[in-house]
Amino acid sequence: MGAIDVRDLARAAAAGDQHGWDGLVERFGELVWSTTRAYGLSPGEGADAAQTTWLRLAEQLGHLKDQHERIGVWLAATARRESLRLLGAARGVAAATPRPATEPPPGPPGAGEQGREALLWRVVRELPEHCRRLLRVLLTVPPPSHDEVSAALDLPVAGIAAARDACLQDFRHRMSDFSIRADADDS
């Protein structure tokens, strides 16, 4: 399915074409959102940071001509900055360290009674912090480039693939107990 070039979307948006703008939002909306969530902003704060990010794009788009193909990187970096700024403001300091990424709630009502369910939530909750943060951004739809992930999380591009593999293996390891048990249930 031939994807429409980001440059075309950015050029159209810069020319005031609403379709172009909507196309950018469709393409990168989840990346911006995931980035704010990866920094542990609450849904309300995340929505604020995301809106500000898009507002910045609307202001800057005309000046970003050379970066049209890197709009995703620009958005990810801006979302990171806005998230950290918001976290700083919340604590009354200029710069801030992130909170744990999207702290999952203790589980939905009723989950506690069922061992299977509780175990599943624990797998997600107990995954190391840096993995949750990385996976939150990496598993965005459509999949972001490593440059975009690097900008969102301020990580060197070169380490992303290895970090992802390590986190997924960790996750697999934690899930393996669960899979075996699910197999037993089925048969």
Binding site: M1, G2, G23, E30, A58, L61, P104, P108, P142
Partner: protein
């Protein structure tokens, strides 16, 4: 293995307004009788349209359309039932007023959405959720005698109803406002959304030529001809019938009939349609008009045949029957009978979905009739159709190609996607690389295909959907619970015969299958509860010794994180009026 599925259903929620006051007015015994009669009316009305009365809660009745089996027109059935319930309660009220001096004022809410439905074999262990809550809230917001229809339902029935919008309201216990419409009437027709049969015909030259030749052959005799047009839902059978009717009218009398999806006298309705048209065309030289009484086929069959034969004496007669997969057996028998005994000058054209031959081989009585297999349009043709529907100025060529690729050549899918996108936005958005939200009408069609499967077929199809659009049967077998493993390949072949799967090209590897349409794969995948999906992905990562392990683990993690409360979708972003303001001033 699969105990629950996620599926889209329509819910009708009705309650009696002011029942407390009623209880004061009436003796408990009379009240109970009145309510029992109301419940009977409600049950009968819902059943007539294929709904299941899920429960009675106090004075409230909740009916669900879509369990145990979904129908593509569940939303319209629900709205029709709601409307009919109102009418029948009005006539019940006339009796109650006469007998007891009271009347029941029923308020109704209709809503459509996703639910997690329990296994049909264990009764309808039906889990509520937001879809049901909103239906109840709509009911609560309705005035006495009113039916309020939720937005999702309205989107599926817009062309079959007359409504007026009511101000969106925020129901108790919810944060987002709910849009609603007051139902005035159901205007008829069997389609909730009208088909664009007026759209320019794209492709199909070969099929039209074949039909022309069959008409020649029928006209030349010695006997009647039968052709069956088979194709999946939305592939363009009705559009082809219409195009052929236009051509054939120049030299033949054309009679058309369509089989309604359900109803007590569906066959009689179709025969009635044909006879009425034949009667109008009879120009005096008529045989005695036959009776559309399908309960006595002996005289009806012969009467219809004689009438058609008498009409065919002056010019050829073409009978076009659409949606014959819905037809009752007696109508199929009539077609067989005509094909067997009718004389020259008659061409019978029957259009149906691919499941028809399983119950009716067609033309089996005499020499086999002709079968035309209607394939999806090519990508170029589908793009041309998209541009034709919306106008090239509103649909850039690149987007038209994306729409065509998404629809995989199914004209109805093209039509619905464009309509849906245009409804949402006033115009068609470009982005997302063609990964658009599935229009509800398309989702309903796809859901019906999956719903017809046996439990085992369904399980295997769902396992396959976890592997991907194209998959190797061994991968599916590796995911299957032990007792199912050896049967997987047989079930996959059965699914191929059912046309849900196709044998994939050899370049995809040995013994590979693929889903016929990417939407079928998506629907099968999304019907699996997320938790099960996550477990299957992890199992796939463990079992499939290939390079897709990372993909599977990533999907599993994403699903679990969503279940743990992490919203997958971003909040809507404000649209700046002039995104390029900076450039203008710079």
């Amino acid at each position: 293995m699969q105990r629950e599925v996620r599926k889209t259903v329509s819910v009708v929620f009705s309650d009696v307004a002011g029942s407390t006051a009623l209880a004061e007015q009436l003796d408990p015994e009379s009240l109970r009788r009145a309510m029992t009669r109301y419940f009977e009316v409600a049950r009968r009305v819902h059943q007539r349209h294929g709904g299941v009365v899920e429960k009675f809660i106090g004075d409230a009745v909740m009916a669900v359309f879509g369990i145990p089996h979904v129908h593509e027109d569940d939303a319209l059935r629900a709205v029709r039932a709601a409307c009919e319930l109102r009418e029948e309660v009005a006539s019940l009220n006339r009796e109650l007023e006469r007998e007891l001096g009271v009347a029941l004022h029923v308020r109704t809410g209709v809503n459509t959405g996703l639910v997690l439905a329990g296994d049909e074999h264990e009764g309808h262990a039906f889990v509520g959720g937001d879809t049901v809550n909103v239906a109840a809230r709509l009911e609560h917001a309705a005035g006495p005698g009113e039916v309020l229809v939720g937005e999702a339902t309205h989107r599926l029935v817009a062309d079959a109803v007359r409504v007026e919008p009511v101000a969106p309201f925020v129901p108790r216990g919810k944060t987002a406002p709910v849009a609603a419409f007051r139902l005035l009437e159901v205007t008829g027709g069997t389609a909730g959304l009208a088909r664009r049969l007026d759209a320019p015909l794209v492709g199909r030259a070969r099929e039209l030529d074949a039909l022309d030749r069959l008409l020649d052959r029928a006209a030349g005799g010695p006997a009647c001809e039968l052709v069956t047009i088979l194709g999946e839902a939305g592939v363009g059978k009705s559009r082809l019938l219409r195009a052929f009717a236009e051509r054939a009218r120049r030299r033949a009398l054309v009679l058309t009939g369509g089989c309604p999806p359900y109803g007590e006298s569906a066959a009689a309705e179709v025969v009635g349609q044909l006879l009425a048209q034949a009667g109008r065309a009879g120009d005096g030289a008529r045989s005695p008009e036959p009776d559309a009484d399908v309960t006595d086929p002996r005289s009806m069959f012969r009467g219809v045949r004689r009438l058609l034969e008498s009409l065919a004496r002056t010019r050829p007669v073409v009978v076009l029957l659409d949606d014959v997969h819905h037809a009752e057996q007696v109508l199929l028998d009539l077609v067989d009978y005509l094909h067997a005994f009718a004389g020259a000058g008659l061409l019978l054209v029957v259009a149906a979905r691919r499941e028809l031959p399983a119950r009716w081989p067609g033309g089996s009585v005499r020499a086999a009739g002709t079968v035309l297999d209607l394939e999806p349009l090519s990508e170029e043709e589908a793009a041309e159709l998209a541009a034709g529907l919306l106008g090239p100025d509103r649909l850039p060529a690149a987007t038209a190609r994306q729409v065509a690729a998404w629809a995989e050549g199914n004209p109805l899918f093209v039509e619905q996607l464009l309509r849906d996108l245009a409804d949402r936005d006033g115009d068609v958005p470009l982005g997302r690389g063609g990964a658009w939200p599935v229009p509800p009408a398309v989702e309903a069609l796809v859901a019906v295909e999956l719903d017809r499967l046996t439990a085992e077929e369904r399980t295997v199809l769902e396992l396959a959907s976890v592997v991907g659009r194209v998959f190797d049967w061994r991968s599916v077998a590796a995911l299957a619970p032990a007792p199912l493993g050896p049967r997987v390949v047989g079930v996959l072949l059965a699914l191929t015969r059912r046309n849900l799967l196709q044998v994939a090209d050899r370049r995809h590897g040995e013994d590979a299958f693929s889903f016929r349409h990417h939407l079928l794969r998506d629907a099968a995948y999304q019907a699996i509860p997320k938790r099960e999906r996550a477990i299957l992905h992890v199992r796939a990562a463990d079992q499939l010794h290939d390079d897709t392990a990372e993909h599977h683990l990533g999907q599993a993690y994403r699903l679990l994180a969503q279940l743990a409360g992490d919203e997958p979708r971003p909040v809507p972003v404000v649209r700046p009026l002039r995104p390029a303001a900076a450039e203008v001033t710079a």
